[in-house]
C-alpha cells in the first residue's frame, strides 16, 4: 500500500530569468489523493506538464513507479492539464476513440466513461458545440478511458456551476474509492479538504508544505457556543480551558487550550446551570492553514 508512485528530485523549470518550478521534491504514494495548492502562477501546471512529458525540465528528475518516465508510462496515467483539449471538428465519441487508440486502451470502455460523466446523450455531437462544463466532463472521460492507475486533474472544476462542481467531486471520490491514485491541482480549498488525503503547497515554484490533510488544525480547537444567558461571556472566561474568546454575530468563539475539548466546556456550563442552544467544534480549515503557510513564507 505504501508503494511510491511518483517522486520528483530537485525538479526545476526556468523560463528565462523566471524560475517557474524551483528544486521541487515531491512524493506521492499509491492510493493517495494528493492536492496541489498554490496561488496563480505558483508552478502547478508547469510541474504537471513536466511530469506528463510536454514541458522539458531545466534540471532535476522525476520517476513514475520508481522508473524514469517514458511515453509508455504516460499511457497508464490519465491526465487533464489546465484546459480540455480535443479536436473541435470530431464528435465526443470520435475524440474518445482517438484517445483510446493513442493510449492503447480498449474502445469498449468508452460507453462506460461517457456514462460516468453523463455525456452519453451528446456523444455524437461535435466537440465544438459542447458547453464549457461538457468539455470539462469529456476531458475527465478521456482521462478515464484507459482505466488508468493514476489520475491527474488540473483544476477540473474550472468554470463549472455549483452542481457541476459537486458532480465532479462525486466522480473524483468514486474513482478514489476504486483505489486509484489522484493528483489534483485546485484553487477550491474546500474541495481539496473534502476529497484529498494529502496536500502540498507551492509558492513561486517552491514547495512550502507537504503533509496529510488530516493533520490540518490538529491540536487546535475552536468551540462555537450560544446560550440564552446574559453573562455567558463572563462565565466563558471563568472556564480554565478557555483561550482567546471572540464574539461574532451573537455567537461566542472560544479557542480551547491544549488538552481541553468541547465536552469539557459543555460540562462546565451545565454545572453552572446553563444549557446551550448551540455548541459546535470547529477544526481549522484548510483555507486558514493555506493562508498561514503562505504568510509564513514572507
Amino acid at each position: 500500500m505504501n508503494e511510491v508512485v511518483l517522486s520528483t528530485h530537485q525538479l526545476t523549470k526556468n523560463y528565462g530569468k523566471l524560475c517557474a518550478v524551483n528544486q521541487l521534491n515531491l512524493e506521492v504514494k499509491r492510493g493517495q489523493i494528493f492536492g496541489m495548492l498554490g496561488p496563480n502562477g505558483s508552478g502547478k501546471t508547469t510541474t504537471l506538464g513536466m511530469l506528463m512529458g510536454v514541458t522539458n525540465p531545466s534540471s532535476g528528475s522525476f520517476s513514475w513507479f520508481g522508473e524514469p518516465a517514458t511515453h509508455h508510462t504516460r499511457k497508464k496515467i490519465g491526465a487533464v492539464l489546465e484546459h480540455p483539449i480535443f479536436y473541435p471538428y470530431l464528435s465526443g465519441q470520435k475524440n474518445l476513440e482517438l484517445n483510446a487508440m493513442i493510449k492503447g486502451a480498449d474502445p469498449k470502455n468508452i460507453p462506460k466513461v461517457l456514462k460516468t460523466v453523463d455525456l452519453t446523450l451528446r456523444k455524437d455531437d461535435k466537440y465544438r458545440t459542447y458547453s464549457l462544463g461538457m468539455k470539462q466532463r469529456l476531458a475527465i472521460a478521456s482521462a478515464l478511458v484507459s482505466d488508468p492507475i493514476i489520475l491527474i486533474l488540473d483544476e477540473p472544476t474550472n468554470g463549472l456551476d455549483p452542481m457541476g462542481i459537486a458532480e465532479i467531486r462525486e466522480i473524483v471520490k468514486r474513482i478514489a474509492d476504486d483505489g486509484k491514485t489522484i493528483i489534483l491541482a485546485s484553487h477550491l480549498l474546500d474541495e481539496v479538504q473534502k476529497v484529498c488525503t494529502q496536500f502540498a503547497v507551492l509558492r513561486k515554484g517552491k514547495l512550502m508544505h507537504s503533509g496529510p490533510v488530516d493533520d490540518v488544525g490538529k491540536g487546535e480547537e475552536t468551540v462555537e457556543v450560544m446560550a440564552y444567558h446574559d453573562d455567558l461571556g463572563v462565565l466563558l472566561q471563568e472556564f480554565v480551558g478557555s483561550g482567546l474568546i471572540k464574539k461574532e454575530n451573537g455567537v461566542f468563539q472560544v479557542m480551547m487550550k491544549d488538552g481541553f475539548h468541547s465536552q469539557d466546556l459543555n460540562r462546565f456550563l451545565f454545572e453552572k446551570g446553563i444549557v446551550t442552544s448551540h455548541l459546535t467544534t470547529k477544526k481549522k480549515s484548510l483555507e486558514k492553514q493555506f493562508l498561514e503557510i503562505l504568510a509564513e513564507a514572507h
Binding site: H71, R74, Y87, L90, L98, I102
Partner: protein
Amino acid sequence: MLHLLQIDLKKMTSYRTFWVICGLYFLTLGFTTASGMEILKWIASKFEDFGSSLNVNRIPLYHFPDIWQNLIWVSGLFKLVLAIMVVISITNEYQYRTLRQNVIDGMSRWEFVLSKVLTNVMLSLMSVGMLLLIIAVTGLIYTPELSAMDMLTGSEFLFAYFLEIFAFLSYALMLGVFVQRSGLTIVLLMLSHMIEAIIKLNLFRESLEPSIGWLKQFFPLESITNLVSLPFPRYAFQEIQDTVSLTAVLIALGWAFLFNYFSYLKLKRADI
C-alpha cells in the same frame, strides 16, 4: 507503424476540409492528366481557325514511352495542393494544442512526427497509384504500336514522382512544425520557390557561375524539381534530360530525410 498511420488518419477522416482538399487534388490531377489529348485537339482547332494546321497525332504526348515523363511532370504541378493539406493538418495540431494532449496521452514526440510522415508516404503512394492507372489507360488508348519495351522505358519516373511528392510534403510538414500558424505557413510554402530563386540569383552572379554553378542542384526546392525535368522542349527538337538522374535522386532523398529530421529535432526540444 500501421497503428500510428491509423491514428493520424482517424484525425483526418472526419474532417471535412481534408476530404474537400484531397478530393479537389485527385479530381484535378486525374482530369488534367487524362484529358491532355483533348486539350491538344482543342489547341489544334484554334490553329485551324487561323488557317494553319497542327497535326496532333504527330506529337506523341501520350505515346509510350514519352507519356511517363510528360504526365508525371504535369502532375508535379499539383503537389502544392496536397502540401497545403499537410500544412493544415500539422498547424491544426498546434492551434488546437492537440499535439500537447497527444503527448500527454502517451505518444512520444518521435511517434507523433512518424505518424505525420507515414501519412505523407501514403498520400504520395496514392498519387503514384493514381498516375500509374491514368498512364496505363491513356497510354494503351493513344499509343499506336504497343511494345513491352516502350511501355517499361521511363517507368522509373514513377519512383522519381514518388520522391518528388514525398520530399515536397516533408518540406511542407517541416515548415508547419517551425512556423506553426497555418496562414503564414501556406504563404511561405507558396513563396518558397521564388525565395530560393532570389537567393540563387544573388549567390551565383555571372562571374561565379562557371566555378560554383554546379552547387545549384543542391538547393532543396531545386533538387525536388530536378527529379523530373521539363519534357516538352523535346517536341521542339531540343535536348532534354529524359531519364531520372541518380544524382538528383540522391540529393532529393537527402533533403527528404533532413526535412523530417529537422521536424523531429524541433519538436523534441520544444515545450508544447
